[in-house]
């Protein structure tokens, strides 16, 4: 049982080793706009979309136009989703006759899915109609993921182009991302999920008598269970491939209709990490240096692997608080052992830990266990993974440009340390570039800590948190970290469907999306304008193991400097008070 639990981790890493070069090479062809597999099918579709939407595929955009297009698409998306949620009771595809969504929840959910966050302050099967789930949520799970991929493509062009002001065409990148990557992958894996038992139908909720009520009918006891229906298998692939994470059911990946067995658990976890790890490979292909790709992938994979193994070990070790009640936490033939509070027995502590770390290291946020029930440090690490800025490996596209910004900072710092002009791939890094990078790094901590602090001070907001003490600090910080970093993972102890949380979490999501995209694309625009200097023996190399190690260290140190105080008041304080009686 224990070996089977740990095998899940090994299988996910093996799948990533296989898929990264294959998918990475394909992505490079997609964004280089060159001949790629499937052209005979995809090219006519793309041309049709360009014609219908009046897109000039040869047209190029400056960074401001590129980011403006992303803003326009997002703005219209939020507006349409808000309207759709409010009037869902008037629309078809509502077999359970669910009412329109309240204004605050509609606003939160609209912003959440359009910004790729997928934070859910509601229970899907009892709040949103099937029409809302399909046309508001799933459509934006494709679009929001494609926006991240388009932004990554633009950032790469900023690095590789020289003496130009343009970064490509946002609309072309969106169309190619959806037509050539997201739709084909989602289609294939939807069929796999259907075969594995994930439901996909348009049934209304069915109320059935449970077996226990039948067996106890003599005593007059009755027990009923509501069995929801819905198009789930068609939603789950893009939920994972696009690093969205918003599920059809409130229980998300803990629901057997979505996650029917450990094989699907492993498959969906791999799907969530597949594109984020493939993007650095594509980057290497596009800049013509696989050594640069290796730097990114090794730094990402090392931090990710350490996080997975540490959380899995912590949860497999068990919880000392449960031990004092005589609860068995040692593995047996039928018990995977460890801290199983809030976890799915089929997956064990290890399978749950693998999920929690992957969903927070990417920008997915889907959960198959209650992170609130993890050991203090076991729950603190997924929180820290989000705080890293989701760069290990991060979201679809967003992880790549997030890590590249850390690379620029590392190149700048190390360049100054050794007394050489800071350069990256032959481009000089100047004060303006570092100002934009600093804005990128500082916006999120300011947003998270401000909102979380006010929420803990406001009695009405603090009252919505199910616990007190250090755990409540972690709960509030986790919620705003998840929202601002566009992750969507929930710690699971916050009743967030209130005016305060619906509004402020939506604000955090919006700031986390655009106040990150804007400086990132501005930086790409700045890089594209620069001339390239010849790389000489005197130039500080950015493709060495030493640079990789410094990069990983700087990612951790920068996050430590900004978030350590609040981590000390949350998970660390809980750990030491709980385990050592401090």
């Amino acid at each position: 049982m224990v070996a089977a639990s740990w095998a899940q981790i090994v299988v996910v890493f093996a799948l990533l080793v296989i898929s990264t070069p294959i998918l990475g090479n394909y992505l490079a062809k997609v964004y280089r706009n060159e001949e790629a597999p499937g052209d005979r099918v995809f090219l006519p579709v793309e041309r049709l979309v360009y014609r219908l939407l009046r897109i000039d595929p040869q047209g190029e955009q400056r960074w401001t136009a590129f980011v403006g297009s992303a803003m326009a698409l997002t703005f219209v998306g939020v507006l349409l989703n808000y309207l759709l949620f409010r009037i869902q009771h008037l629309l078809p595809g509502n077999p359970d006759h669910l009412p329109g969504v309240s204004p605050a929840l509609a606003f939160n959910t609209a912003v959440s899915f359009v910004t790729n966050t997928d934070w859910q302050n509601y229970t899907g099967e009892s709040t949103l109609s099937q029409f809302s789930q399909m046309f508001a949520l799933v459509v934006h799970q494709f679009l929001s993921a494609a926006i991240g991929m388009a932004l990554a493509a633009a950032f790469i062009r900023g690095v590789i182009r020289t003496r130009t002001t343009t970064l490509g065409n946002f609309w072309v990148d969106i169309v190619r991302s959806i037509v050539r990557v997201l739709v084909p992958l989602s289609f294939v894996f939807a069929i796999v999920l259907l075969a594995a038992g994930v439901i996909d139908n348009f049934h209304a909720t069915r109320v059935v008598a449970t077996i226990s009520s039948m067996s106890s009918s003599a005593t007059g006891a009755t027990a009923q269970q509501s069995i929801p229906g819905g198009p789930v298998a068609s939603m789950v692939p893009i939920e994972m491939i696009g690093d969205n994470g918003g599920g059809y059911f409130g229980a998300n990946m803990a629901h057997p209709f979505q996650n029917p067995n450990p094989v699907i658990n492993v498959l969906t976890i791999w799907l969530a990490a597949s594109i984020p790890f493939a993007f650095p490979w594509a980057y290497g292909r596009l800049v013509g240096s696989m050594r640069q790709a290796t730097v990114l992938i090794v730094a990402m994979a090392t931090l990710y692997a350490v996080s997975v193994v540490v959380v899995a070990a912590l949860e497999a070790h068990g919880n000392s608080h449960l031990a004092q009640f005589g609860i068995a936490q040692y593995p047996t033939g039928t018990n995977p052992g460890g801290n199983l509070e809030g976890k799915d027995l089929r997956l064990g502590a290890t399978g749950s830990a693998l999920n929690a770390v992957t969903m927070t290291s990417t920008s997915t946020g889907g959960v198959n266990s209650a992170v609130e029930s993890y050991t203090p440090l076991g729950g603190g690490l997924p929180l820290s993974d989000m705080m890293l800025g989701e760069v290990i490996p991060g979201g679809t596209g967003t992880g790549l440009y997030g890590m590249l910004i850390f690379v620029l900072i590392t190149a700048f710092i190390t360049g100054l340390m050794v007394g050489r002009t800071p350069m990256y791939l032959g481009k000089r890094l100047l004060a303006g570039d570092m100002t934009l990078a600093a804005i990128y790094i500082l916006v999120l901590p300011i947003t998270v800590l401000s909102f979380a602090g006010v929420s803990l001070l406001l009695p009405s907001a603090a009252h919505q948190i199910s616990t007190t003490g250090p755990h409540a600090v972690t709960e509030a910080v986790y919620a705003y970290t998840s929202a601002a970093h566009n992750n969507g993972s929930a710690f699971a102890g916050l009743a967030g469907n209130t005016l305060w949380y619906n509004s402020t979490l939506a604000l955090a999501m919006w700031i986390g999306r655009f106040f990150e995209i804007v400086p990132a694309l501005a930086l790409a625009g700045s890089l594209a304008r620069k001339r390239t200097y010849t790389v000489t023996a005197g130039t500080l190399r950015t493709d060495t193991p030493l640079f990789t190690a410094v990069l990983a260290a700087i990612v951790v140190i920068l996050v430590g400097l900004t978030y350590f105080p609040v981590l000390a008041m949350g998970p660390l304080a809980e750990h030491f008070s709980g385990h050592f009686g401090v």
Binding site: Y82, P103, F107, T164, T166, V287, V518
Partner: protein
Amino acid sequence: MLDVVFVALLVGLAALAVGFAVACDRLLGPDEPVLAEAGRAGAPRTERESV
């Protein structure tokens, strides 16, 4: 009433994001004339094959 408030909030957020983009663009400074002209003309795709 709340519908109006939230739509207004969304418009405000969009305006804030646009303003932030303008501020970042000013931080970078204007494009050199030769580059701006090239961009209007359809952008030379001067991507390097290798580094």
